[in-house]
Symmetry: C2
Subunit: 199 residues, 2 copies
């Protein structure tokens, strides 16, 4: 327990909640979401179970808050740079994604396992995040990839996202002779290449 | 229960086991693997729990047998045609995959959910199947895609497989204006297109 997680530190309820979620994500490095109970968190944070129930309303509420917190973090970290050519901006966004996964790979794996399971609310947060990330391709601001917003393009982007997730996690475990820059370049070029295969 | 699953039919132990596994896969259409207990199977097959334990050794053994059976089935169904140009053979194999998923989509979804979870043995069967399917690209027989068997190409094939899985399952739920033939063509062309992005 670090000084900043002490209950004695004067924090607003919102700041305290954020801090507990960040601790939750860090704890996921060594265990699955299912193993990360309110009890574990209370123990690690040095605060009462009752207070944690007050913040999250229960185990499912806590799970949802942790997954949503990770999703928001991922969304922020993958914000494309404000300027540049479309493929450069995509490259910047992908670099943010790859770095996020490198830094949080064990927690990310834990979250994906749970999101892939039978918990519908967690699955929904995961899908909503995929969609929000895809929406960036269709922003009307200049500098985004000029993709038509059709169901077929959305279908392909979703599948590309699944590919990227697998690619980055597998690469983290076994880099296969590719540098981080190689990986980012492959991911960035693959999207237009796959979209080109559409009829 | 159909006549062919009756215990009175004279079958060898191997045939009986196969039949129970096929029934297991069919039952996955309406429930997850976790919900498909030995008890459910015994009830549906009209045979004793004891006999099912004899065949599968317990719940985990039964889960592994069901997943392995589905994996073997998928492997057979995606066998490429014996002759033809590399991309035609890949197209044949992909058509087999797409048709398999169309026919078994609910059971396939149930199996994937479980394989993505924390059951290491099921995860291993899933990964072994991915690898066996990828191995087909490196067969020395003429007519296969001329891909170099490097860690980077293996990494990309694995990610493409994850993409294909997502693409076909999402398409089953919402075809996005693509025919089955369009889908097969996109999947087939995407692989060389992604491999081209490697440094």
């Amino acid at each position: 327990m670090t000084a900043t997680t002490s209950p004695r530190t004067r924090l607003s309820p919102d700041e305290r909640r954020q801090q507990l979620l960040e601790l939750g994500i860090r704890l996921l490095t060594n265990r699955s979401l299912e193993e990360l109970s309110i009890d574990t968190l209370a123990e690690e944070a040095g605060i009462s179970r009752g207070l944690l129930y007050h913040y999250f309303g229960g185990k499912q509420g806590y799970f949802e808050a942790v997954v949503q917190h990770a999703a928001d973090d991922l969304y922020r970290r993958t914000a494309p740079p404000a300027d540049g050519a479309p493929l450069e901006r995509l490259l910047g966004s992908i670099t943010g994604y790859v770095d996020y996964v490198i830094e949080n790979q064990d927690a990310y794996r834990s979250l994906l396992k749970t999101a892939a399971g039978s918990n519908e609310a967690l699955r929904a947060i995961y899908e909503t995040t995929f969609t929000a990330l895809a929406d960036r391709f269709f922003d009307e601001e200049p500098g985004t990839l000029d993709l038509p917003d059709t169901p077929a393009v959305r279908l392909v982007i979703h599948a590309w996202q699944a590919m990227v997730e697998d690619l980055v996690l597998t690469w983290c475990a076994r880099p296969a002779g590719l540098t981080r820059e190689d990986l980012v370049a492959v991911i960035t070029s693959a999207l237009p290449a796959i979209i080109e295969t559409l009829p």
